[in-house]
């Protein structure tokens, strides 16, 4: 049987990448936390998860976390991160050994915000909110993490 061609991701991207945007994210995180507090920052990330990644949420709601796996593969590959994804019956684990975003910011900015990785944790939480899955993000070192999708108990 012929394999059905994959539909493009909702926000599929081609062409070059502009990694300096990660520096602007870092600046923004510090600006928001200093002026408005970390809860506001987390609410902005939650909006990104809920309102921007509507399609990923829809897939999670419909029982298709593999769309998020495609999203991870597409963007971590585009940014040349060192990562792998293990899919088993019980869980899907993204292991990031070298996050391009974190290390690019470390290279171009005076410091990496203490809240830099909140973008991952909070966007993941918002994508999974109200779906049959949860996404746990464990920061395992500077620019390293594990992101785990599991069915809720």
């Amino acid at each position: 049987m012929q394999k059905r061609p994959e539909t493009p991701l909702r926000y599929q991207e081609e062409g070059n990448v502009h990694l300096d945007f990660h520096g602007a994210v870092n600046t923004t995180i510090d600006f928001i936390v200093e002026r408005y507090g970390v809860e506001v920052l987390h609410e902005i990330f939650a909006k990104v998860g809920r309102d921007v990644y509507v399609d990923l949420r829809r897939h999670m709601l419909e029982g298709h976390p593999e769309e998020l796996v495609r999203h991870w593969r597409h963007f971590f590959t585009r940014e040349n991160a060192d990562y792998d994804i293990a899919v088993s019956e019980d869980e899907i684990v993204l292991t990031v050994r070298r996050c391009t975003a974190y290390h690019h910011v470390a290279k171009i900015s005076p410091s990496v915000s203490a809240h830099f990785c909140d973008q991952t944790t909070k966007v993941n939480e918002a994508i999974a909110e109200g779906t049959p899955y949860r996404i746990d993000t464990e920061i395992t070192g500077p620019g390293a993490c594990r992101q785990i999708i599991r069915r809720r108990a």
């Binding site: 502009h18 002026r35 909006k47 309102d51 991160a81």
Partner: protein
């Protein structure tokens, strides 16, 4: 990680929050982004002037996948954006666009031109079309003259223009 490809959609959410707080909050943010951008462009301007700006926006054209024409002479730099990926992504978005999304460009570039003694004339044309014209002059009078022919002139912190 929010992919760098998706930065503009995150930026859009930040703008919407700041707009809800007021113009002063947006201005302070653009000044912060402007300060952040100095590390990428300030030395180029100080050492090479308009040619340094040309170099900076040539890199942006390539890395950000812009459709634009760029020209420079001894008096000014001119950038014609025909396909702005930043606004295009914000419009192609499941979240609502911030209505004044385009204002951020002049918002960060203007303060750098003020600081380096150049004169920015930023014509956004329309806030819902991914195109604009940016002109940067050495001479203030030439910039004033150029302002007369714009369709939607942008201001920045310290310089009021469009509303």
């Amino acid at each position: 990680m929010i992919p760098s490809d998706h930065f503009t959609r995150f930026y859009n959410e930040v703008f919407k929050f700041l707009e809800s707080k007021g113009q002063e909050d947006l201005d302070l943010y653009w000044l912060e982004i402007s300060k952040n951008q100095e590390k990428h462009i300030l030395d180029l301007i100080r050492t090479k002037g308009l040619q340094g700006m040309y170099e900076y926006w040539s890199v942006i054209e390539e890395e950000e996948n812009c459709e634009l024409d760029l020209m420079v002479d001894d008096e000014h730099l001119e950038l014609h954006m025909h396909g702005c990926p930043s606004l295009a992504k914000v419009m192609d978005n499941d979240a609502a666009p911030m209505t004044r999304y385009c204002d951020h460009c002049a918002g960060w570039i203007g303060p750098i031109m003020d600081k380096t003694g150049y004169h920015l004339v930023y014509d956004v044309i329309s806030r819902t079309e991914p195109r604009c014209v940016m002109r940067i002059f050495k001479d203030a009078d030439k910039a004033k003259e150029a302002e007369k022919s714009v369709q939607l002139l942008m201001g920045w912190p310290g310089k009021k223009a469009a509303t």
